[in-house]
């Protein structure tokens, strides 16, 4: 059976939002790199010129995907996944080191970052797995497969020292949650993160443990009222578990590399290491703060133009938005992302196939994770984890990978039978 693209069913809202973000992103890369001697738009020696080429390549890929039969993509999922994993292995073998990580392969003069492509490849493979007729999320055997599919790329990316990209795979918790994963995972996860940060932040662990004890006692006698033996046992297990966790935090923290420890400490206190990791965050906040309500205007940013903010065209690109376009520009950009995320959930919900639905949620979850971590980092709320702002940051691999990720879903949606 051969279907053609059904133009009326293409979700143009998503495409327009995508295009708007890409164009605004390029404008800001241009502003971040701008100086009088490099004002030409088509100067391929500078970043904004190179990014323009990548925008056209991405557009070409987007168009190409729109002409592929979605069935083929679904069928090729494992193959694509396999290629992605192979590329990751290849990176470890011949990769180039940048910023203490080994995440680049050089092909001629073009550098590509396979970890970016592994995200949609994994999304495809997981969607394929979940849509299989013998898959049941409640069976242990299914979890072995899931763990394998996620663990393989995550492990390889960890070996490249690219912790940020590895953490992105946490985003798959969202589609799994939609498909029945128990929310207990999130409760335990959030509790662990909170306990971890508290353990580092407080000096005497005794009071933390004491507070835990008080909370558990309150839970038993105020919340439950008349606890049974089962409650007592649960409470004891939780308490012992938490105490062990708190005590072992120092050891776990010690396992992190020094620059990673610094990033966590800087998040807790920006004054820690103000010239090192703290410098990025402080400068980033200064640049954004100086934009005020309406910003300094296009190409008028004094701080981004003067290279005060490191990595300002890649991970810290939002600084340029904040400085030159102000609160108005920054908030509108965030609302555009929110609109896109919301739209993607709506589209995912109307998918008839499990594959489409799972893949749709994966797309929205990966974009959401990137958005929150990147903006949170720039605004000083998250540790400095170098992951790009989707469709926006400078970087060809990231733009192309996100475009492919999104357009596979748009294509899938265009030929899916609507539930509504």
């Amino acid at each position: 059976m051969r279907t053609t693209v059904e133009y009326k069913k293409i979700d143009y809202t998503t495409i327009v939002l995508y295009a708007a973000i890409v164009i605004f992103g390029w404008v800001n890369i241009y502003a971040a790199c701008y100086n009088e001697s490099h004002s030409a738009v088509f100067d391929f020696g500078v970043q904004h010129g190179r990014q323009l080429i990548w925008v056209f390549i991405a557009a070409f890929f987007a168009l190409f995907i729109m002409f592929i039969e979605p069935r083929h993509i679904s069928n090729l999922s494992y193959l694509i996944y396999g290629i992605a994993v192979f590329l990751l292995v290849l990176t470890l073998a011949v990769g180039k080191a940048t910023n203490g990580g080994l995440s680049w392969i050089e092909v001629g003069s073009v550098k590509i970052q396979p970890s970016e492509f592994s995200k949609f490849a994994t999304a495809l493979a997981l969607a394929k797995l979940v849509s299989g007729h013998d898959f049941d999320i409640k069976k242990k055997r299914s979890w072995w497969f899931i763990a394998l599919l996620i663990g393989l790329p995550v492990g390889l990316i960890f070996l490249q020292h690219d912790v940020g990209s590895a953490l992105v795979f946490l985003a798959f918790l969202i589609p799994f949650y939609r498909f029945g994963l128990t929310p207990l995972v999130f409760t335990v996860g959030i509790a662990a993160v909170v306990l971890f940060i508290l353990s580092i932040a407080v000096t005497t662990k005794f009071w933390l443990i004491f507070a835990l004890l008080v909370l558990i006692v309150l839970y038993l006698f105020v919340w439950i009222g008349r606890p049974t033996l089962k409650h007592y046992i649960y409470a004891l297990v939780v308490f012992v578990g938490c105490t062990a966790f708190v005590i072992s935090v120092d050891y776990m923290f010690g396992l992190l590399e020094e620059h990673q420890q610094n990033r966590v400490l800087v998040m807790l206190d920006p004054a820690h290491d103000p010239r090192g990791v703290g410098y990025n965050v402080t400068q980033s906040k200064i640049a954004i703060g100086s934009g005020g309500f309406s910003g300094k205007g296009f190409l008028r940013g004094t701080l981004t133009k003067a290279n005060f903010v490191p990595e300002q065209e890649t991970d810290f690109i939002f600084c340029t938005v904040g400085e030159e376009w102000g609160f108005v520009g920054g908030a509108l950009l965030l609302l555009a992302y929110l609109w896109l995320l919301y739209r993607l959930v709506t589209m995912a919900e109307r998918q008839a196939s499990v594959f489409g639905k799972f893949y749709g949620y994966s797309v929205s979850a990966i974009l959401f994770f990137h958005l929150v971590v990147n903006i949170g980092m720039v605004l000083g709320w998250m540790p400095v984890i170098g992951i790009p702002l989707p469709f926006f940051s400078y970087g060809g691999s990231s733009l192309l990978a996100f475009t492919v990720l999104l357009f596979i879903f748009i294509r899938q949606d265009a030929s899916s039978t609507s539930l509504f």
Binding site: I288, A306, L335, Y337, V345, E349, S364, F368
Partner: protein, 626 residues
């Protein structure tokens, strides 16, 4: 597929919405509700280049230049720009340092030391490599400057003097202190300001208004270009000039006469209150407190036991001695407690006196400066018999007298245009209450009558007394600056046009003037040495007893005078510290020479002049107490 988890779609949407809203709130707190970040941003990306205005010039009464500005150059260095990258993480020096050292006249070691100091400050920001290079020196290697990468010069101005005179009244300029910067945000680190004299009093007018240029700089402090095309820039406004009433030639002459002595001279044009010359001896060359040698010279002058930095003319409080008697006679005549024909036998008691015939009128009393005579005059002023109780009677008289003294400008700060002036001392009942607990009377303070006791004046007040007599009844607050402004606009302070009436009739002043004429011109007068052929100088001597550290010292020699007798052009005081021989022997002849020089423009008696110019009559000061 059965879908039991449809409601989770809603939860996921909520999570997305809440997360993005939280990020927007965070964005708002940084951008809208916290001005700290915006300020920090401007501070590091913009550099204000200050454009210094030229400090106002100072002229004398004939528009001769006294103080002007001279350009000097600070050689600046940016250490990193002197280096060239030669690969492999190594840098090499680009400049021919040996040539540079030769040009600057420094050794290689000194070069390295200065270079290291600059590096300690910053590798990428400019700092001073060598400061205040005179323009001639700079001109000799200006052409080679382009050969030295990372070096450039910044122009500054320093004060310069046409003649090495007037140090105390002109004052000096120096770098602002932390306190100055806190008190006035106009000043920034390294700025200059007036620290004493006219330079301080007229600081706001002299300094002008700084201009600024806002430059956009990058993270390495390198200039990118003007910010907003110079929209925020402003041009500097030059400082006002001071057109003083000083006669530069007279000032120079006075300083020559007073060289190697201790004391003060203040000469005023009585009709206008304009100061013609003011000097405090010992003085110093104002060029010493300029430029690179400032601190070295300052500390040397500061340690000198003769206190050359101390402006005795307005800060030195001295007993006026017999010069004060003129004011006593005038007060008594006005109060009606004596008549012009009041006479008193010289009993040399209870105040001592020199040998002379008894004074039989006020005119004779002034001429011969009889101490018992003025004891009697003062007694009549203080004890008027209004009360039976002598204490009450003394109190009444003292209060009346105190009021008259203040009218002459004694016991109060004369509002001259200098930053610090002493008010001297004219005692009132609170002074004696403090000492004698309400049981005092005339017998406790009669020595005030002859300008001793609790009476202390600064030389400026003594000169002002001469003005009051010269004007026959009023004075105009003494001032040094006649006009402020520039060639096209000049203005003056109204307070320096007001007459201050003493409140004593002109007919009494005529008597005092007659007495002062006799002091110089008739046999038995105390200041015959002040006489100059053809000039009708009127004056009054003073010989003031004094102590230092409780030890009696040689008398101070004082003389107040004015000339000519009618329509006086100059009134002055000459005060020489610890010059044995009294008012007539040192202060009077010096005053005569000054008046002659001013009124005739020449000196008719060169041997007489050189004698008083070269001899130092002053008893050396006591070393400071350990």
């Amino acid at each position: 597929m059965s879908d039991n988890y449809r409601n989770r779609s809603i939860i996921i949407r909520y999570v997305y919405i809440i997360a993005v809203v939280l990020l927007i709130v965070r964005l708002a707190t940084i951008q809208l509700f916290n001005s700290k970040y915006a300020q920090l941003g401007d501070a590091q990306a913009l550099r204000n280049v200050t454009l210094y205005p030229s400090r106002g010039y100072i002229y004398d009464r004939n528009e001769n230049l006294i103080v002007y500005n001279e350009a000097v150059f600070d050689l600046m260095i940016v250490p990193n720009e002197t280096l060239r990258y030669i690969g492999d993480g190594k840098y090499e020096e680009m400049n021919d340092t040996a040539l540079l050292c030769r040009k600057l006249g420094i050794s290689n070691e000194e070069y390295n030391e200065r270079y290291k100091k600059a590096c300690n400050y910053s590798h990428v920001a400019a700092s001073i490599f060598m400061s205040q290079i005179p323009s001639e020196e700079y001109a000799s290697w200006q052409g080679d400057l382009h050969k030295f990468k990372g070096f450039y010069v910044m122009r500054r101005t320093l004060r310069s003097y046409t003649k090495p005179v007037g140090a105390h009244l002109l004052g000096y300029v120096g770098e602002v202190s932390q306190k100055d910067m806190e008190a006035d945000s106009y000043y920034k680190m390294g700025d200059y300001k007036g620290l004493s004299g006219l330079e301080l009093y007229y600081e706001k007018q002299l300094r002008g208004i700084k201009g600024k240029q806002v430059m956009h700089v990058d993270v390495h402090s390198r200039t990118i270009g003007p910010y907003k095309n110079g929209m925020l820039d402003s041009v500097p406004v030059e400082g006002s000039n001071l057109y003083t009433s000083i006669d530069l030639d007279l000032q120079e002459y006075v300083e020559k006469l007073m060289a190697n002595k201790r004391g003060a001279v203040v000469a005023i044009e009585p009709a206008t209150g304009e100061v013609l010359a003011m000097m405090s001896a010992p003085t110093y060359d104002p060029n010493l407190l300029v430029g690179r040698k400032f601190s070295e010279n300052y500390s040397r002058l500061h340690r000198d036991i003769n206190k050359p930095l101390f402006n005795r003319a307005v800060l030195g409080t001295y007993p006026p001695g017999s010069t004060f008697k003129v004011a006593q006679a005038l007060t008594a005549l006005q109060l009606g407690v004596i008549g012009p024909g009041f006479g008193a036998v010289c009993t040399k008691n209870p105040v001592g006196c020199h040998n002379h015939p008894s004074a039989m009128s006020v005119q004779e009393g002034i001429k011969m400066s009889c101490n018992p005579y003025f004891y009697q005059v003062y007694r009549r002023v203080i004890l008027q018999g209004k009360y039976h109780n002598e204490h009450e009677d003394s109190k009444y008289g003292l209060m009346l007298w105190h009021d008259y003294m203040l009218r002459f400008g004694f016991g109060q700060r004369l509002d001259i245009d200098l930053p610090s002036v002493m008010k001297g001392s004219i005692p009132d009942s609170s002074t004696y209450n403090y000492w004698y607990k309400n049981s005092w009377s005339f017998s406790n303070f009669y020595s005030n009558s002859i300008g001793q006791g609790e009476v202390l004046l600064v030389p400026l007040q003594m000169a002002n007394l001469a003005c009051c007599v010269a004007n026959r009844g009023y004075y105009i607050t003494p001032h040094i600056v006649r006009f402020l402004g520039n060639d096209s606009v000049k203005y003056r302070y109204p307070k320096y046009c007001e007459k201050h009436e003493v409140g004593i009739d002109k007919k009494y002043f005529d008597i005092a003037v007659a007495g002062m004429y006799d002091v110089v011109h008739t046999a038995g007068g105390t200041a015959r040495k002040a006489r100059v052929e053809g000039l009708d100088i009127c004056g009054k001597t003073g010989t003031a007893e004094n102590k230092a550290n409780g030890i009696k010292r040689s008398d101070h020699s004082a003389f107040i005078a004015f000339a000519p007798r009618d329509n006086p052009k100059i009134a002055l005081v000459v005060y020489v510290e610890n010059a044995a021989g009294g008012g007539g022997s040192w202060a009077a002849p010096i005053a005569g020479l000054i008046i002659e020089k001013y009124l005739t423009g020449k000196v008719s008696r060169p041997e007489f002049e050189s004698m008083y110019m070269n001899i130092n009559p002053c008893q050396p000061v006591l070393p400071p107490k350990k």
